[in-house]
Every structure is written in structure tokens, then in C-alpha cells.
Amino acid sequence: MRFPKPTRLRLYSQIFFFTLFVWLLLRTEFRGSFRDSTSEIRLPYPIGLFFQLDPLVGLSNALAGHALYRGLLWCLLTLIPTMFIGRFFCGWICPLGSMNHFFGSMKSERKRGKQLLESNRYKRWQTTKYYILAAVLMAALLGTGMVGWLDPFSFLVRSFGLSVLPATNYTLQATLGVLEHSRFALVQTIGGALHFLLGAVLLNFKQPYFRQGIWLGLIFLIILALNLRVTRFWCRALCPLGALLGIVSRLSVLGLVKNPEHCNDCNRCLLRCQGGDDPVGGVPWHQPECHLCLNCVDECPESGLQFKFFPTQRTAGTNLQRRRLLSGLAAGVALVPVMRSTPGFAAAKDERLLRPPGSLDEEFFLSRCIRCGECMKVCPNNALHPSLGEAGVEGLWTPVLIPRLGYCETSCVLCSQVCPTGAIWEITTKEKGWSVDLASAAKPVRLGTAFYDRGRCLPWAMATDCIVCEEWCPTSPKAIYLRPAEVIDAVGTLKSVKQPYLDPSHCVGCGACEHACPVQDRPAVYVTSVGESRSRSNQILLNRRKT
């Protein structure tokens, strides 16, 4: 058997890691098991694997928290080999890189013949990513995790999990619905069989909906479409992880060696170059830009290009300009105070900024959260959504709980399990303290406090029985209590109804009452963030009873 070509191996590796990524993302969901009835539900797979392999997340986490959160040490598995051989991660593993590779290889009117060769030469604008890296790391040091806006895995999980996969599910469900309701028995059977098969791997139990789903999807499409102009534009110009690995790769002992005697200036090495790192003769090779895709070696008809250890040829570096680098750093320095000197962070916090259970206090939360959307993807009630304005510009796409769309499930702590950075610190059901004996739990996690809008509440305003909120209230004793009241209805009949009241010392802010309220459009009971246990200042009561 012939050993496959190195570029073939690279392709297999890309397919493998892309499939692994998508599979892990699909499994970032509680799917239920009829064979299992453990009291603590946890996901069985290492769904945060790619975040743990991401040194950019690790570095930003370390800068923001002065420590490395659970599992982030694994990012050394990427970082250290990159120091030895260069950006193999970008060319061989990164699933976003692979997608860009795929779309970049598509035929395009803008990239033909000379234009294609020209577009694959090294460009000065490829240094942009280093300035972005400087800015986001500076911001991380000053306490904001906006690195996640551009981190490739945050970007990919956010786009896939909150937009691409929900849209796929919608398409499939609609198609299956048509098949299964067909007039022909055969089509129905095929639909049923497809439903069963797809249900096991792909379909969601309930159609997920995400606020801003369409915008996240459009941004994703734009990034993919840019490949039709410039191959791997994202990887060459924007990716801060690529920049970090590029800087590190300057230490690398592996390098491209050009053999000028063999070169006949055919430029074929440029045809499929991914990084835009100038493998052609006559100019130095740009080591930090190379993804180690090996296309140039494969393409060279004279075998004039080789990767060798301890090369002696001079290579080009990151090509940074001091002034621009300083501008990048300055941008990172300036952004944080500018974003924070608007009301919202400390003063006049948005009342609807409900964070997932286990979240750190806002200051720490914003410094660690990388806006990746894993918590939103995993939430079984579709309760968590990317924020738009609730957390200020700084908190764009951080998770916010919207009880009307979904409440926080009593015993569920999956968001805290999947959070890669500890912005939602990992807790157990017991620590959450909602479904176990409250007297024995030290202090339950509270997300906020519920309030009544008596003008809209049925027993208060419409002389009608209801109390669905009390029925759903998960604490024991219930935070919602009832008092009988004599009311007179529209025709003058005296009626006895039970009117709900709220005991803030027992409310955990789960939002079940708001979710279940029959006054659907603007519920008569709603949760605001005051009383959230993560904050010391955002409180109402002087003393909260222990139980």
C-alpha cells in the first residue's frame, strides 16, 4: 500500500476534526435517557474540547482571572507543538479554518489565473490580526472578555449553535411534516423512517429559537463569502487565535526551504496557498502566516520546496509596525473605560439582566465570558439568549435569561457544566439548592426576584381564578403565597378568589411563574434581577431569611 500524500492526510485530519466539532456541538444538548434515572444530569461527552484546546481562550482567561479555569490547561497541547513546528492547528485542526479552506477552494470570478496568484501573495493587511490580538488581550487584562467576539470557536459555536443548527432543524422538521402528513402511505412510511433516523442524530426535541439568530447567521455567511474574494480572509486578516499561534510559531524549528536552483518561476506554489505566506522564489517565506497545509510542496513540479527542521534560510516575521501595535494596545486600553463609563454596568443596571445560575458577579462575569453561546445551546428550556442591550455594548452576546421564552429548570445545572471559562462557575444541583430541601442547603442560587403587576393579574384585576404561578413555583415553601379575597365581578356578583403575593425571601428568580402566566404577551408576574445571589449590591432585603 502506498502511503497517502501529506496533503491527503491533512484533508482527512480536517474532515475528522470538523466532524468531531459538529458532533460535539450537536451533543451539547440534554437529550434524555430512558435507561438512566440518576438524580444529577450531566452531559457525557467532553463538549468543551475545542475551547480547552484554544490557547487564546486560555491566555485571555489567565489575564482576566490570574488563573486557568478547569480544563484550560489542555491548551498547551496546541501551544507547545506550535512553538516547535508552526501553525499546524490552523491548517490541520481548526474547524473554522477548514470551512474557510473549503469555501476558499471554490471557483470564483474574482480569483482566476493571475488574479488568483496575486491574491495569494503576502499582503500588508494580513498584520491586522496581530493588532486585533493586541487589543483583545489588553482588554482581557483590563477585565473584559471581548476576545470571544472574534475567537474562532466562540464565533463558530455562536453561529452554528444559535443560527445554523436551529435553521437546519426547522427545515428538516418542516420537510418531515410534509412527508408524514402525505396522502400516500409509502411517503408517510419514508417520512417516519427519516424522522426516526434524523431524530437520533440531528433533530432537536423542541425547535430552538434564539434572539438575533438571523444576524449571527448573516455575519457567519459574510465571513464564509469573503473566501470567494480572498482565500481564508478570516484566517489571514482577522483571527486573533491565528495571530497568537503565528507569533509563537516564530520559535519554530520547522521551516519551508526553497531551492532556487529548481525554481523556474512557474508560481504554481501560489495556486493553492492557504496562508498567503509567499512560498514563491525571490522573496522570503512568511513563517507566521503559514498554516502548514503543504499545498505548495505538493504543487511544485520540480520538488523545489521542502519543509525541513532547522532551516538556515532567512524568513520573514510578523512584520508588525510599532506604531500600529501601540494603536492596537491603546484601543484595548481605551475601549474598556469608554464602555464602562456609560450607565448599566455599575449604576442603573438593566432590570432584565438575568444571568444563568452559577454566574459570577457582573464584573468577573464580563471578564471571563467569551460570548460563545455554549450555555444557550445547552439550555433545555431555550431560556438563555445572546444579549443585545441588557448588558451594555461590552456585554454584547453574553447570556441573558428570558423567562417568557423559557424559565430556569429547577434541577438543571448544564450551563454551568459547559461554560468553558468559569463565567458561569460550575455548580451542582445541590449547590443550586432549588429542588432539594431548602433548609439543608446553605443558600440557594438566586437569579432575581418576581414581582406582580396587579393590573394584569386575573385574581387581582379580573375577579377570575388562576394561581398558575403558585402551582409552578418550585421552591418549598413556595415563594408565591395566596390569600383568599372577596371580589365583585362585572355583573356585581360577590366571588371568592385566591390572590397571589410574593415572598422575596423565598423567591429564587427562576422565572417559572412568568413563563406559566396565562397573560402571555406581558405576564402579570415577572422577574427582575434585584436580589440575585451573585451580587452583593443588587439586593432588596436587609436580611434574607436563611430558609
Binding site: G32, D36, L438, E471, S476, P477, K498, P518
Partner: protein, 328 residues
């Protein structure tokens, strides 16, 4: 003759004229046809819903069985045995639906859902009596997959041989319940067109009616805006009970949630009563358990009176032929 080659000949002109005539006739025909078929869109109603699943009464057998003992499964077996055995209720080839309460994300000890051992035992008995299929399902309040898993019912029922069916959102049908307050409602498909229905609720406290027992368990077959039902809870309960008319009702009082129902959560609210009450009369069994555990009179539970008026059963449980036993 050269000019002729550029000019259109008669034949081609005719063909083109025919083509344009055909296209315009087609467009006009389709337009007229579509304009005849304009109607206000409305969801189709499922017309084949089966009402009532009772079996003929047998004057020689008890109508209610109250069994005390240690083992929930044994209680269920004995209760059905006293009422004449499962063969009386399930015939060979029947499709049987067993409806436990799987409403909440709670463990069996917290007594917010039916005891899984009781459900499993009912499933086993139905299967050994020759049932073709036994379906166990509920439309949960909390997230369904968590409820099915953490209640232990999915696992226990599936092990006993039942088909455990999650309430998939795509499987609800609009049904005319023909009730007095409930008309068109979304009903979960497995509840329609089964041969026998066995209600296996758990006795719990509920703030609106004082207690939630057998008839309240039928909320769990509905989808849609069922949170509106509380506004006319007594009439709704009777409409649902009238629609289903179960074969058998088995109320699980092994663990009883005395306070903070129907969700509970606190083990201090749970009373270990170790009892199971089964009856062919869905009204009497509710009236008995309400009295026995919460000391609630029929007067405070109007739905029992309405149900009796509509001949769904009798709330005078004292007049029923009742068998009380303790098994060990």
C-alpha cells in the same frame, strides 16, 4: 426570394399565436379555479377521537380497593387483583394507555410524580393480560425529558415493556372535546384511539382545589394554552373526565405530597402513607382520597358534584362495594 427568409411565414405565426393563446388560457383557467377555492384557513379537527374506555360493571366484584403495605408494586398488583384482575380490564390485542403524572422535574422521593414501581407493575399486568401495546406518556409541565428521566418512570416503564412516549410538539391534534367549557383543544396524539386508558395519578396538595388527584391528571393530555383551564377548573376537570372516561383509576398514595404541591421539592412535605386506592369509579376514588388524606368534604370540591350530575360516577364513596386489605 431572400426577403422571404427574414419574414415570418404563416405556419410559424400560427404556432406562436397558438402558444400565446394556450399560455393565457392556462393562466386564466388556473386563476379562475384558484379564485373558486378561496376560504379562510382553519386548522383541521381530528374527527376520530374515541370517547370513553370503560368496561361493563360486575356486581359481584368490589368497585374500590384500598390496599396498605410496604411494597408499591405489590400494592398495585393487589389492588387490581381485588377489582377482578387485569384480565377484566384489558382484553387480548388491546392498545392500552397508562397515564401517570410525569409533570415535574422531581425524583420519586419528592412525590411530585407517580411512583415508578406502581407504573411499572400496571404495565406488566396489562402486558401479561394480552395487551398488544402499552403506552406510557404524559404532557409534562417542566422540561419533559428531564421529568421522564428524573421521575424514574421512563426507565421503570420501559423495563416493564411499555412504549414510553415523550410529548413531541409535532404530535398534537386539534380535537373537539365536546365539553361544556372545553371545546377545541390540542390533545396529544397517543391519547386518541386507544382501547383502554388506565389513570395512575399521585395524590398531591394543590392550592386551588385543595388537592390534585385522578381527574386533574387529565390536564396532562392537553397541549396548547392549558394554563387557562384554572379559570374554570371544576368545569374543565369534568369535561376532560367526560371525554376520557378511564377504564380504571389507580391513585398512588404511597408517598403523599401534603404541602407546597403540586411541585413540592421538600422531603418534609412528603407523608409516607404506603397506600394505594384503585377504582372503576373515577369520581368516588377522588372523593375518598380527598376525605381520607386532606379531610376535604364533597362540598369543597364542586367538580365531584358536577361529575356526579353528569353521571361520570358517584362521590358517595361510602356506598361503593369496597375492599380494604393490608399486604406485606
Amino acid at each position: 426570394m431572400e426577403t422571404e427568409s427574414n419574414a415570418l411565414n404563416r405556419r410559424d405565426a400560427l404556432v406562436r399565436l397558438l402558444r400565446v393563446a394556450g399560455a393565457s388560457a392556462g393562466a386564466a383557467g388556473l386563476g379562475f379555479w384558484l379564485s373558486q377555492h378561496s376560504f379562510r384557513p382553519e386548522a383541521a379537527l381530528a374527527t376520530t377521537a374515541r370517547r370513553g374506555h370503560t368496561v361493563t360493571p360486575d356486581p359481584a366484584l368490589p368497585e374500590m380497593a384500598i390496599i396498605h403495605g410496604e411494597d408499591p408494586a405489590l400494592l398495585a398488583r393487589q389492588a387490581v387483583e381485588e377489582l377482578g384482575g387485569m384480565r377484566r380490564f384489558v382484553s387480548r390485542g388491546d392498545v392500552v394507555l397508562v397515564k401517570p403524572n410525569i409533570g415535574w422535574d422531581r425524583t420519586p422521593e419528592q412525590a411530585a410524580n407517580t411512583n415508578p414501581d406502581v407504573v411499572a407493575e400496571i404495565v406488566r399486568q396489562a402486558l401479561s393480560s394480552g395487551a398488544k401495546r402499552v403506552i406510557v406518556t404524559d404532557v409534562s409541565c417542566n422540561e419533559a425529558r428531564r421529568c421522564f428521566q428524573r421521575s424514574g418512570i421512563a426507565e421503570a416503564a420501559q423495563r416493564a415493556g411499555a412504549e414510553v412516549t415523550l410529548p413531541e410538539p409535532s404530535r398534537f391534534k386539534d380535537v373537539d372535546l365536546k365539553g361544556e367549557v372545553l371545546r377545541e383543544w390540542q390533545v396529544f396524539e397517543p391519547f386518541l384511539n386507544v382501547d383502554k386508558v388506565i389513570n395512575v395519578p399521585i395524590a398531591k396538595h394543590h392550592a386551588l382545589t385543595g388537592t390534585t388527584l385522578g381527574m386533574k391528571n387529565w390536564y396532562g393530555m392537553l397541549g396548547g394554552q392549558r394554563n387557562q383551564l384554572h379559570q374554570k377548573i371544576h368545569e374543565s376537570l369534568v369535561d376532560l373526565a367526560d371525554f376520557v372516561r378511564p377504564t380504571l383509576t389507580v391513585i398512588d398514595c404511597y408517598r403523599v405530597l401534603l404541602r407546597n404541591g403540586p411541585t413540592g421539592g421538600n422531603l418534609e412535605d412528603v407523608l409516607l402513607k404506603k397506600t394505594l386506592v384503585a377504582s372503576t369509579d373515577p369520581v368516588a376514588v377522588d372523593a375518598y382520597v380527598a376525605k381520607a388524606i386532606w379531610d376535604l368534604e364533597v362540598a369543597s370540591l364542586p367538580y365531584l358534584q358536577i361529575a356526579a350530575q353528569r353521571r361520570l360516577g358517584s362521590y358517595e364513596f361510602g356506598k361503593l362495594r369496597t375492599q380494604i386489605k393490608t399486604v406485606s
